[in-house]
């Protein structure tokens, strides 16, 4: 019983020891904040990645794809029909985008051209949530070009006042179609805009209704490019710059036709089938099953991957970053452990005569060791508890804290334009917090083992004579 009484009294009277756990407290708080922010980023990023990609993707190694995609869809239905919610045929290829500026100049960018059927693609993933107009308002995914855009074009204006029997009528009509093609395209937001440093808004280089040109590889034995014009009807803004600065969505049938892989009416090849599975279904198991079945149909032709496998390197990179950061931060707590060791050793020296008295009164070696171990445990619980509360409070008020720092320094600590997040995302994972706290307690208690052992081994006579 004396162990707990003395441990409690030491806790209440030895403020120097409490000071030693401040470093543990700060270490724990920092680890909780960093892990929560990183988990928040990772979680939001995973959410967005998963929203962009379907759960499982069946794709061909050949960019020209496969014509029998309806058969592949049937196989998917047959194999895992009760587990699948929706499928979407897609054609994905590399390309070049040309955006025409009002002053006659053009901007060229490397892009990923994706041919989709909007109604099908909307059923696989959160694609429809990422489609917006130039004002940032969500719009329905689709490629229809409003009729008035053509009539409002320079040629369209002239066409309005030109009688149908006028020889110029047909020429103007053709020109209106060239100025505002009746084929719509959804362009990645980061492709279509420029963000000037210091500006609070983005400048559109491809505003709604503007014409863009796309070049992409044609099918065939010789590498050849096809060229097509589209009208910008919407923007794709997922918050992942990798996609927002690369993706251009166009109608599937038109892309098939222009790549000479379809008749433009529905019959054609695709190189991907996106699959959305029902909630709770094991996507790895489905992917494995489909891979086996499709391999038996056409070996070495199809690749079936889950969205996580497709984004493996990115997700892995985040995990590695988080791991390295945790190792470094844990070293801070380990250093704090040495501080505890030093201060505990000092306390043992200070308490030498008391230890001698305790032994004279019958305290055992293990009992004396227990005093200092329970003291170390109590101190670490206090330090880690305070650190946990501090860390969780910082996480809870992180954005308010950021606002205060912003107003004090006049600069933006967290720029939403860079990360596309309106505020710093955080996610407190209880197991991570528990792991940090228990790890820190273990370090602090370990640091008190040596001084406790030293105290327990003191000879009572020598301890009583200690000056």
């Amino acid at each position: 019983m004396y162990k707990y009484l003395l441990c409690w009294r030491y806790l209440k009277t030895r403020y120097i020891a409490l000071a030693s756990v401040i470093s543990v407290m700060l270490g724990v708080a920092t680890m909780i904040v960093v892990n929560s922010v990183m988990a928040g980023f990772a979680h939001t990023m995973r959410d967005r990645l998963h929203g962009i990609l379907a759960d499982v993707v069946v794709e061909s190694y050949d960019l020209d794809g496969f014509w029998d995609w309806r058969d592949v869809q049937s196989i998917i239905q047959k194999e895992c029909g009760d587990l699948v919610e929706a499928t979407a045929p897609t054609m994905e290829t590399f390309g070049l985008l040309k955006m025409y500026l009002p002053d006659g100049q053009a901007v060229t960018r490397q892009v990923m051209v994706i041919g989709i059927r909007p109604e099908d693609r909307a059923k696989t993933g959160d694609f429809s949530e990422f489609i917006q107009d130039d004002a940032g308002k969500p719009i329905k995914p689709g490629f229809e070009v409003p009729k008035n855009w053509q009539t409002n074009s320079p040629a369209g204006h002239l066409l309005k006042d030109t009688p149908k029997d006028d020889p110029l009528h047909d020429i103007l009509k053709q020109q209106a179609g060239e100025q505002v093609p009746d084929r719509g395209a959804i362009v990645g937001y980061a492709l279509a805009t420029i963000h000037r440093p210091g500006s609070s808004t983005d400048d559109f280089i491809a505003p709604p209704g503007s014409r863009i040109g796309l070049a992409f590889p044609k099918s065939g034995r010789k590498p050849e490019a096809a060229y097509d014009d589209y009208t910008v009807v919407g923007y794709f803004k997922s918050g992942m710059s990798e996609y927002d600065s690369m993706h251009v969505y166009v109608p599937l049938e038109r892309l098939q036709y222009m790549r000479m892989l379809g008749d433009g009416l529905g019959a054609g090849a695709v190189n991907q089938i996106q699959i959305q599975v029902k909630p709770g279904v094991n996507i790895n198991e489905i992917a494995g099953r489909l891979q086996r079945v499709l391999d038996s149909r056409r070996p070495m032709y199809f690749r079936v991957a889950t969205w996580e496998q497709k984004q493996g390197p990115l997700l892995e990179a985040v995990k590695i970053e988080q791991f390295i950061l945790n190792v470094l931060l844990f070293l801070i707590i380990a250093v704090a452990g040495f501080g505890i060791l030093a201060i505990f050793s000092m306390i043992v020296v200070e308490k030498t005569r008391d230890i001698g008295v305790l032994k004279a009164l019958g305290a055992s070696t293990s009992g004396v060791r227990g005093i200092f171990l329970s003291y170390g445990l109590a101190l670490s619980i206090v330090g880690c508890g305070a650190g946990m509360i501090e860390g969780l409070l910082i996480v809870h008020y992180l954005n308010d804290i950021e606002n205060v720092i912003n107003s004090l320094t006049g600069t933006r600590v967290f720029n939403p334009d860079i990360y596309y997040f309106s505020e710093i995302p955080t996610l407190v994972e209880p197991w991570t917090v528990a792991g940090i706290v228990l790890g820190a307690i273990a370090i602090a208690v370990t640091a008190s083992v040596w001084p406790a052992q030293r105290a327990s081994k003191l000879h009572p006579v020598q301890a009583l004579r200690f000056e």
Binding site: L6, A360, A363, L464
Partner: protein, 250 residues
């Protein structure tokens, strides 16, 4: 004339605490050995009060530490109620120090973080598990308060050692030694740090307890006035018993 330590007719096996041929040397560094006790015989009967006197370095305190199991002899045996105790395992020696012996030190050695009452309770706190402590707490506190009352400090129970005078601290230490209900009190220079008046009052207290309760006491002192209050005086000289003198003959 050097008298044998164990008087005639005083059978060792009847002794309360009995030591034979105790030798002890301290090592300084790797090679230097300083012999302190050269073969001391000692015996005390139940209810007896013995004073051990001698010059500084004669081995008084070392003998007391060996008798109280704070240290082990290099040679020789120690018996408590006829049972050999010097070769007992550590656990048993810890238990004997807690239950059979009560220590009083020259520098009081009270725990500065605890109140006088808590210091008095320390032997019981060491002895009992938390469960036993909580089930007997009220009674134990009452007993400890009574001991404080007995040493004249009933009103000082909640005071920390830093708030007590030297005499009061020594009285608290005596109460602590008594609160564990020991068989033998071992006091090492109990009046060494006290003024004459406080020293007198502490010795009177020890003498009264010895007479009233028949408590066996061994008091180490260099003050002959203190030693004269004992039943017998054992004089040590250079690690050997020089004389054994009943007080009436001293």
């Amino acid at each position: 004339m050097i008298l044998p330590f164990i008087p005639k007719g005083h059978h060792a096996m009847n002794a309360h605490l009995h030591a034979v041929g105790l030798k002890k040397a301290y090592r300084k560094g790797r090679s230097l050995e300083v012999p302190v006790l050269h073969g001391v015989d000692f015996s005390i009967e139940k209810g007896e009060m013995v004073a051990i006197v001698g010059a500084s370095g004669s081995g008084k305190s070392t003998l007391l530490h060996l008798l109280g199991l704070l240290d082990g002899p290099d040679e020789g045996h120690i018996y408590l109620n006829g049972e050999r105790i010097d070769q007992q395992p550590d656990k048993k020696r810890d238990h004997l120090r807690n239950t059979a012996f009560g220590f009083v030190f020259q520098s009081y050695h009270l725990m500065p973080e605890l109140t006088a009452l808590e210091n008095v309770l320390m032997p019981q706190l060491i002895r009992l598990s938390p469960w036993q402590w909580f089930s007997q707490k009220k009674q134990l506190k009452r007993d400890a308060a009574e001991w404080l009352e007995r040493v004249g400090l009933g009103h000082r129970g909640k005071h920390k050692p830093s708030e007590l005078s030297g005499g009061e601290m020594q009285r608290t230490a005596i109460a602590r030694a008594l609160a564990g209900n020991p068989q033998i009190i071992l006091a090492d220079e109990p009046t060494g740090n006290l003024d004459a008046e406080s020293g007198e009052s502490v010795m009177k207290l020890l003498r009264d307890l010895n007479r009233e309760r028949g408590m066996t006491m061994i008091v180490v002192t260099h003050d002959l006035n203190v030693a004269r209050q004992a039943d017998r005086i054992v004089r040590l000289n250079q690690g050997l018993v020089e004389s054994f003198t009943p007080v009436l003959a001293a």
